[in-house]
């Protein structure tokens, strides 16, 4: 069958009226919008988790009890000796001993205004920033020898928790995306079924004249694919300003440069490239779901005919 010889606008099944160019694109647009939100959630969780994990992995906190007591061997205070050892260690970018005022500020949320007048002895805190390739083997032992009781907190617990949180958020986003795809498939299948019911007589006539299942399914699929692609495009366009706003708000947390200038180019640059690809994927994905669902629905329905 040389379907390409048909006039381009020949609609023998009357699908132009059976499959409305309003209802289906609107429903698919709503699904595409929700899919865009889910994709943004997935990408956002991945980006934030990556940034936070990098930050946590590059920092170290050292607690030194009795910081002003003499170290072993004597000659300097415990905190000074610990800071010296840290500064001499390869892979350490910076070492900073927190002042009493900074410690009081850290404790303020728990102890209130009296944090700086505590009678309880506080440990000294050293904030350490690491290079990416820092090798800290043996550091704890050396610090323990210089100032017994010193604790090195490498934030491993927090990194683990962040990782689990990020994976959970991504799983939720993926689940939401799967649900949206299923609902979109059902919506398109129902719309196709409605079209089949409305055009049953025309389909039976064309089928009786020798049209194959593939021909009839192809006519439906062409129409549904077009409508679904239009819906996907509308959904993506509607989602774009929301995503740009969210991305701009999340930029400081994700380590992305804040866009101080209000230009459109700068605003669009906030979205990561993979999200732009995902937006394009929404259109092609909607079209693909439309095509496959229409083909499957129509071919299954046609099996009732001889």
């Amino acid at each position: 069958m040389a379907a390409s010889l048909r006039p381009a606008r020949f609609d023998e099944l009357g699908l132009g009226r059976a499959l409305s160019d309003r209802m289906l694109p609107c429903l698919v647009a709503a699904m595409a919008f929700l899919a865009a939100m889910a994709l943004a959630g997935w990408a956002g969780a991945a980006s934030l988790a990556h940034h936070w994990q990098q930050g946590a992995a590059a920092a170290l906190t050292v607690q030194v009890p009795k910081p002003e007591s003499p170290a072993a061997p004597p000659g300097a205070s415990r905190i000074s000796r610990v800071a010296g050892i840290l500064q001499a260690t390869d892979g350490i970018q910076s070492v900073r001993v927190l002042s009493d005022a900074e410690l009081a500020k850290l404790l303020h949320p728990w102890l209130g205004e009296g944090a700086d007048r505590l009678a309880v002895p506080l440990p000294g805190i050293v904030a350490v920033h690491l290079d990416a390739d820092a090798d800290l083997a043996g550091l704890s032992r050396r610090l323990e020898q210089a100032a017994p009781g010193t604790l090195v907190e490498d934030h491993g617990v927090w990194i683990g928790r962040l990782s689990v949180l990020a994976r959970s958020l991504q799983a939720c986003a993926a689940l939401a995306l799967i649900i949206v795809v299923i609902v979109a498939t059902v919506v398109i299948a129902v719309a196709t079924h409605a079209g089949l019911s409305v055009r049953r007589e025309a389909i039976e006539i064309v089928h009786g004249l020798g049209a194959t299942d593939g021909y009839i399914a192809g006519r439906f699929a062409s129409r549904v694919t077009l409508l679904a692609a239009v819906g996907g495009l509308i959904g993506a366009i509607l989602a774009l300003p929301v995503l740009l706003t969210l991305a701009t708000l999340a930029a400081p947390f994700a380590g992305t440069a804040e866009t101080s200038s209000p230009s459109v180019g700068a605003a669009l640059g906030v979205l990561p490239p993979e999200l732009w690809l995902a937006m394009l994927g929404l259109v092609t994905g909607s079209a693909l779901i439309g095509f496959l669902t229409a083909q499957g629905t129509v071919r299954r329905w046609l099996r009732h005919l001889p």
Binding site: L5, F10, D11, E12, A202, L209, G210, A211, D213, P306
Partner: protein, 225 residues
């Protein structure tokens, strides 16, 4: 060409609600290539069911049916569309696509066969002129009279020069002149080699155009040739 061997037809399923209705019993006959047959019988005798089997709207539930060299009862579904394109049918209720013009209705079988659009335009225009609708090519069926719709249905059935042409009460909506013209067309198609089967109540038509007849009564073939 067409061979019925002890063909039976039952509508519905014994597993469904109510009993299945056996509408045809043990139908046996053969039509050679180029034959012309009347299919006669009272209403409910099974004429339309025999035609439905011949234009592949259903398959026999028992017996063997061979159409244009294909065993219908065992053929896979994909084998039937090419067979249908070799069969022309004039339906009692026309079965035209009301959203298409007269031209597009008649052109439909040619387009399904993949004919080039230029050839389709020439053939369809000529056919519509022949059936007296040359000036109404762009008109939709609902704007035409019953007789004119019938003529579009006839034009659609014969436009592909089918091997087998079936007509179910084709003169029901036509006046005498139009009925005469239709019978002349069917005879002409038959003379060119098409096997023709016409189901009708119209005994006067049968008497005017002498041809062998298959007579059905209560789903059984009572007279053969």
């Amino acid at each position: 060409m067409v061979r019925f061997e002890a063909v039976g037809l039952r509508y519905g399923s014994a597993r469904g609600r109510g009993a299945a209705a056996q509408v045809l019993h043990d139908i046996t006959f053969a039509l050679p290539e180029g034959a012309f047959r009347w299919l006669l019988g009272p209403s409910g005798a099974g004429k339309t069911s025999v035609l439905r089997l011949m234009y592949l709207a259903t398959r026999p539930t028992s017996g063997r049916l061979t159409l244009l060299g294909t065993s219908v009862e065992s053929a896979p579904r994909r084998a039937l569309p090419p067979l249908r394109r070799r069969i022309g049918v004039v339906f009692q209720d026309f079965r035209l696509l009301t959203h298409l013009s007269a031209f597009d209705n008649v052109a439909l079988p040619l387009r399904l066969s993949g004919r080039p659009e230029g050839q389709i335009r020439a053939d369809v225009t000529e056919m519509l002129r022949w059936v007296g609708l040359g000036r109404k090519t762009a008109v939709r069926p609902m704007e035409l009279s019953g007789g004119e719709q019938q003529r579009i249905a006839i034009a659609r059935a014969v436009i592909t020069r089918p091997d087998l042409l079936l007509a179910d009460e084709p003169t029901g909506n036509l006046d005498d002149d139009q009925a005469l013209r239709l019978m002349q067309l069917l005879n002409e198609m038959n003379r060119l080699g098409t096997t023709v089967v016409v189901a009708t109540h119209n005994e006067s038509l049968v008497s005017r155009f002498a041809a062998p007849a298959l007579r059905l009564e209560q789903g059984r073939l009572s007279v053969r040739d």
